[in-house]
Amino acid sequence: MVTIIGGKQGDRMRHIKTCFDVRNVIFSLLVSTTFPSLADTLHEGEWSGSYTLYNSDTLDVLYDVQYSDLEENKKISITMIIDIEPQSDFTYLLEDVVVDANKIAFKIKKPQETKSCELFAQDNGKYLGQCQSDLDTNGKHLTEILMIPPSVTDKQN
C-alpha cells in the first residue's frame, strides 16, 4: 500500500526527515571520531593487545597499523609483534586483512600453521576475537586475541 502525503503535512514530514538525516550524519561523525573501530578504517599507529594461547598463557602484543600512501585503494598493513624473546621470531605481517564497520579479519601465516582470525568491535572501542588454526580441525584449540587502538590506550593511561 502506498500513501501519498502532500501539502503541509508532506512539508512537515520532509522537515522531520531532513532533521533525522542531519542527526544521523552528526552521530556517525561523532562515533567515527570517538570509536574509530566503527568506521571502515583503523587508526594508524601502534596498537596494543594480547594473545592468549589455548593453554591460557597470555602474551602481550604490539600491532603496527599502517596504510599505504596511495589515496585511491588505500591498502592496510598490520604487523603483529608478540612480546616474547627473541622478538624477531614472533613478528608476523598479517595477511588478507579485511576491515568492516565493526569487524577485523586477517590471517597469521606461521611456518607450521595458518591462523584465521575474526575480531569484533566492543563497546569500549577494543576489538576482541578468536583465531582458529588450520591444524585445529575440531576448533578446540582457539587462540583469543585482543586489539586496543591507541586512542583507547591513551584514555586508559
Partner: protein, 352 residues
C-alpha cells in the same frame, strides 16, 4: 607451788604427746613435698622427651618427604626420553624442576639440569598437529618460565650470601639496540669490550675528562669501586664483558681477582674466562679464593627493551655460607687455621 607443778606437768605431757605427732606431720609433709618435686621433675623430663621426640619425628617425616620429592623429581627428570614428547609433557617436566630447584637448590648443583632443559626446548619439534598449534610461542613461554625459575633461585641464594660478604653490582649497557630488537645471531660487544670498573668510572667522570685532577680522581674512584674487602683481605676485581648473545641471553666474562698484600704487592688469585647465563647459582657455582672465601657471579637481568642493559652481581663471601657439599680442603683448612692464629696474635699484641 603445787598448782604450778601441776601446770608444768601438763605442759610437759602435752609436749611429749605432741612431739611424735608434729614429727610425723613434718615427715609426711616432707614426703609429700619430695614426691611432688620428683613428680614435677619427672613430668618436665617427660615433656622435654616428648617434645624432642616430636621434633625428631617431624624432621624425619620432612626429610622423608623431601627425599621422596627428590627421588621422584630427579628420576623423572633424568629419564632417557624426558627431553622428547610434546610441550605438555615438557611443562610437567618444568614443574618437577621447579620442585627440585625450590627445595634443593641450596645443596644441589642444578646448572646441568637447567642447561639440558634449555637445549631440549631449543630443539623441541611438534609431535602432532595439536602440539604444532602455537608451538614456537609455547616453547618461548617455557623458556621464559625456565629463566624466571633460575632467577628466583639465584637471587634468593645471592641475597643470603651477600649478607655475609661483599656485593658488587655491575650494569653493562647494551649500546646499539634500536627501537626494534635485532635478529638472533647479532652479537653486542663483538669487537669492543666493557670493562668493570674502568668503563663505569670513565662514564661517571666523562664531564671532567679535561680537568687536571682527572687522573687522580680516576685512580681514587677505581680504588673505591673495584677494591673489595672481606675479613681483612682486600682484593681487586676486574670483570671484562664481551660477545653478548641477546637470544641465548649469555655473555662472555673474563674474571680477574687480584689479592692486595699488606706490602701493597699484588697476587693474581683468579684469572679465567667463561660464558655467563642465568643458570649460575652462587651457593653451589662459585670459585675458591684464599682464606676460605668464595666468589660467585650471577646474571640478574637481561633487558632488551627501554634502555637495554645486563645486570650482573658478583659476591665474595666466607665459604661457611656456601653449599654444605662444598667443604674446605686440607690446604684451605690449614690456611684458615693460620689466619685465625694470626688474628689472635694481632689481638694479643693490641691488648698489650
Amino acid at each position: 607451788m603445787e598448782g604450778e607443778n601441776k601446770k608444768r606437768d601438763w605442759i610437759d605431757l602435752l609436749f611429749k604427746a605432741m612431739t611424735p605427732v608434729i614429727a610425723g606431720l613434718l615427715i609426711a609433709w616432707a614426703g609429700y613435698v619430695g614426691n611432688m618435686t620428683l613428680t614435677s621433675v619427672e613430668s618436665k623430663k617427660e615433656n622435654a622427651r616428648l617434645i624432642t621426640e616430636l621434633q625428631i619425628n617431624r624432621e624425619q617425616a620432612e626429610s622423608e618427604l623431601r627425599k621422596d620429592i627428590f627421588d621422584q623429581a630427579l628420576k623423572t627428570l633424568l629419564k632417557e626420553d624426558s627431553g622428547k614428547g610434546d610441550l605438555r609433557s615438557q611443562s610437567k617436566r618444568m614443574l618437577r624442576l621447579e620442585l627440585l630447584a625450590l627445595n634443593f637448590g641450596d645443596s644441589l648443583s642444578l646448572s646441568p639440569l637447567f642447561t639440558e632443559f634449555k637445549n631440549d626446548l631449543e630443539q623441541a619439534e611438534p609431535v602432532d598437529n595439536e602440539d604444532a598449534i602455537d608451538h614456537p610461542e609455547r616453547v618461548a613461554v617455557l623458556q621464559k618460565r625456565l629463566r624466571s625459575l633460575a632467577k628466583k633461585v639465584s637471587s634468593s641464594q645471592l641475597s643470603s650470601v651477600a649478607q655475609h660478604g661483599f656485593l658488587i653490582n655491575v650494569r653493562v649497557p647494551l649500546k646499539g639496540f634500536g627501537p626494534r630488537v635485532p635478529r638472533c645471531g647479532h652479537r653486542f660487544y663483538d669487537k669492543e669490550v666493557y670493562i668493570w670498573p674502568d668503563d663505569k668510572v670513565k662514564e661517571q667522570l666523562i664531564d671532567l675528562k679535561d680537568d687536571k685532577d682527572y687522573p687522580d680522581l680516576l685512580k681514587s674512584m677505581l680504588e673505591e669501586l673495584g677494591i673489595v674487602t672481606v675479613g681483612k683481605i682486600s682484593r681487586k676485581v676486574i670483570l671484562t664483558f664481551s660477545a653478548v648473545d641477546h637470544c641465548a641471553k649469555t655473555v662472555l666474562v673474563n674474571l680477574e681477582i687480584i689479592r692486595i698484600m699488606d706490602s701493597k704487592a699484588e697476587v693474581i688469585e683468579v684469572s679465567r674466562e667463561f660464558r655467563l647465563d642465568f643458570f649460575n647459582f652462587p651457593k653451589v657455582d662459585n670459585t675458591r679464593l684464599f682464606n676460605n672465601h668464595r666468589f660467585a657471579i650471577v646474571m640478574e637481568n637481561f633487558n632488551v627493551k627501554d634502555d637495554p642493559h645486563i645486570l650482573v652481581a658478583g659476591v665474595i663471601f666466607p665459604a661457611e655460607y656456601a653449599s654444605l657439599r662444598d667443604r674446605p680442603g686440607m690446604r684451605e683448612a690449614l690456611e684458615l687455621l693460620q689466619s685465625a692464629l694470626d688474628t689472635e696474635q694481632t689481638e694479643v699484641k693490641v691488648e698489650e
